[in-house]
Symmetry: D2
Subunit: 259 residues, 4 copies
């Protein structure tokens, strides 16, 4: 029983290989996470466990897929930067997208218990995703700056909003109070009304999370003389740093190195 009669249907598949010499960004985003976070009683505006779970999944991604050179996460979204020369699955967009989002989802569910030992999953968490190509490292930096600026704007707003709500305002009242306020006004509000210095809030909330490989010196053994023998190893780290300015990138030029 040959299958040739029906194989013509394969001709409808399209070639979706992404252009060479482009950085590939896969950004995934929690689907209906507003509802999901309510169902699972996430802390507002930031649930540390939920963020740590996201970061842990992102770190697993870098362990699993060596061609991801950097990841940046905030709230329920994460961006993965694949190196410009990756030949993973011939750069086919649908493969890169589906594998990334599926692996991330799988790890998220598997690790849930580790970060929420006392909460059962009430429904399947899931994510959507998209793929975007950027022709130059400089533009990838701008992409990441765009996400971090967004993190800042949203977090500052959300911090004010939930402070107001927790202090007794209705959500509508809080919304009204914040309408049209500038960054400075919000900082002022936090300080005056709640004695909160925004800049002292945890870095993870204000800066989001960066995941990448860092070269670390590792002690392999101590020789008889007591001197340590070390070797350089690449280790996936999660940090909360400014990636808008040039400092981060100039200190770690290998991350977005163009060939």
């Amino acid at each position: 029983m040959a299958n040739s009669k029906y194989e013509y249907v394969k001709k409808f598949e399209t070639d979706d290989r992404l252009p060479p010499s482009s950085w590939i960004v896969v950004r995934i985003d929690g689907c209906h996470f507003h509802q999901f976070s309510a169902e699972h009683a996430f802390e507002k505006p930031n649930d540390e466990n939920a963020l740590n779970l996201m970061n842990s999944c992102a770190a697993s991604m870098l362990e699993q897929f060596p061609d991801i050179v950097f990841a940046y996460g905030v709230s329920d979204e994460y961006s993965f930067i694949w190196k410009e020369t990756t030949q993973f699955y011939q750069r086919r967009a649908s493969k890169l997208l589906s594998l990334s989002v599926s692996y991330f989802t799988s790890v998220y569910v598997m690790k849930w218990k580790e970060f929420f030992p006392h909460k059962e999953l009430k429904g399947p968490p899931y994510f959507d995703g998209r793929v975007v190509c950027y022709p130059r490292a400089k533009i990838v930096q701008d992409y990441l700056a765009w996400r971090q600026v967004d993190c800042h704007i949203n977090n500052q707003y959300n911090t004010c909003f939930w402070m107001l709500v927790k202090s007794g305002k209705t959500q509508r009242e809080a919304q009204e109070l914040l309408k049209g306020t500038q960054a400075k006004d919000k900082n002022e509000l936090l300080f005056q009304q709640f004695n909160v210095n925004y800049d002292k809030l945890p870095q993870m909330f204000r800066k989001g999370s960066c995941v990448y490989r860092k070269k670390v010196e590792e002690v392999v053994k101590l020789v008889d003389t007591g001197n340590p023998v070390t070797r350089t190893r690449s280790k996936v780290v999660v940090e909360h740093k400014d990636i808008i300015g040039p400092k981060f990138w100039s200190e770690l030029p290998y991350i977005l190195k163009e060939e």
Copy 2:
């Protein structure tokens, strides 16, 4: 702090809306499932629990996404047919693909314990996926026939192969013995050497699994006279039928109805 300076990076996103009046097929496929099934000691050639888990996930997909009108699964792959007129996420390919594969994966991990109560997941199962458009219902039927013929060819081969291996042959010997054999030869081999009538093996193994909505009569209540009051309800069912011939489709014309 406005975000306008970096927002230009959004212009690199492409419009990936699929053409109107086309049936959309999302096919997902287990990634490295050869290894995954070995690690988790799946029965060979078919693990009933593993297949039932796949089918259960597929049924969840139809419950979650009303615009999926049909799903067909075999081994570690599943095809989902979205109706030609769906406007889900504006028919954006990356959304349909990522949501499908992510939701399926999430349910797979969550339901694992239900189908494998005595096995721990040793690593994250994950899937890749692709999206293909078909302009006519007739071609969608041919697509599904293509998958079912494939199911048949593979299952017959695998049944012989694992019978031989279980009877003491090495995998290489089994491979050699089957090289060049026709369907008839394989049936003969099963019957002569192992007293197995291929056609009597479970339908699920030989035909794969179809998931779709069926109109069922449901008893709502019994009235005083003892007569039942019924109503018609749409229920997601999993069946193992021939979908190559015209019979299935002519009996259920609403599934692939064109507008």
Copy 3:
């Protein structure tokens, strides 16, 4: 001197083959023809010679490319319908588009003198183009109906507009007078003010032009008895018919026949 060092640049080319089983429409459109028609003093609202030149070029297209089954033209635009099964240049969109627009342009310039023997070309006429796929013949008919309705709306407006201008109104006055008028109002205006019965104007102006192959009986020779020997031949014709209603298509079912 091998060329291998630079051949990597070919990898940046994308596969632009159009999906199988789709009708392909290439629509070309005069570029800056408002200016071009002014420079060459085209009659307003319709220049018969200019339209006949367009039609002659379209007929040449059908002679040159056997897989074009139908063409419809109005003003400085022409749509060419390639049959759904064409394998011309593997259905590559850029090939179909560029060849169509280039051949049409070439013939347009070459035939100019035939239709405008007393006018020199003052600058290069040129066209842009686009490619659109339609999955079913019925939608191709709707596409063509869309163009013919457009032809009607524009022609009726332009007829009124230029009548008013020729009668002494400024272009702005004419525009103002026509603002908000319905089809009926325009017919009335033409009849009352200019004694013109719109329905009696040339079909070519009101209906646009259809180009297709017609089966004709041709006398090959006269035999001794004086009886003609005929054979059926396919001949490219230009006609000005209604293609919105079903009549045209039901009389010539072979034109958009689906396989």
Copy 4:
């Protein structure tokens, strides 16, 4: 008569805007020019008039489309480099392609008489085309080097081939003689048998043609003292230079300047 009923067909059009920050190459290529050049008795291996006509058309392209920054031509093909930041027709691929190929074709037919005053066009010359995006200036240079290397390889072969044919060999014999020969062998053959120094052949044949804008000093007027008043003007020039090495590009850095 509203057109709304049929306007849904517009939804089948796809968004074909090319990604930002990419150089756009439109390459056009003579269609059936083997036959066309035979019909019009072009000189072999190079017809100077035919090449000059091509170059003149390319120069017109740069006059017409300011965003084309460079063009390179050889034989019946021409590549046009659009600057990376062009917003011409919103970077829509089909517009850029169709306009380029149509304008080139139109000028080709119009200028034919100028370059072939004693030859009538026997049929419409036409071109196909394609669009390719390159993310960096360096890769555009490699693209152009690829075309010039090709020019060299083909021209050397063709020069030998036609020398042999003109000296009495059949085309098949010439082909056989050249099979497997290296560049050095071909130079030797030309010198030994035909006393031709390949490097002394016209630059246009060996290097192809570059078309670009050059800043030139222009005498505007002579003042009373007899001193000329000059101004800098941008002028489209046609030259035949090496563009494989870095020299050309380092002398004219503005041509492929990245932003």
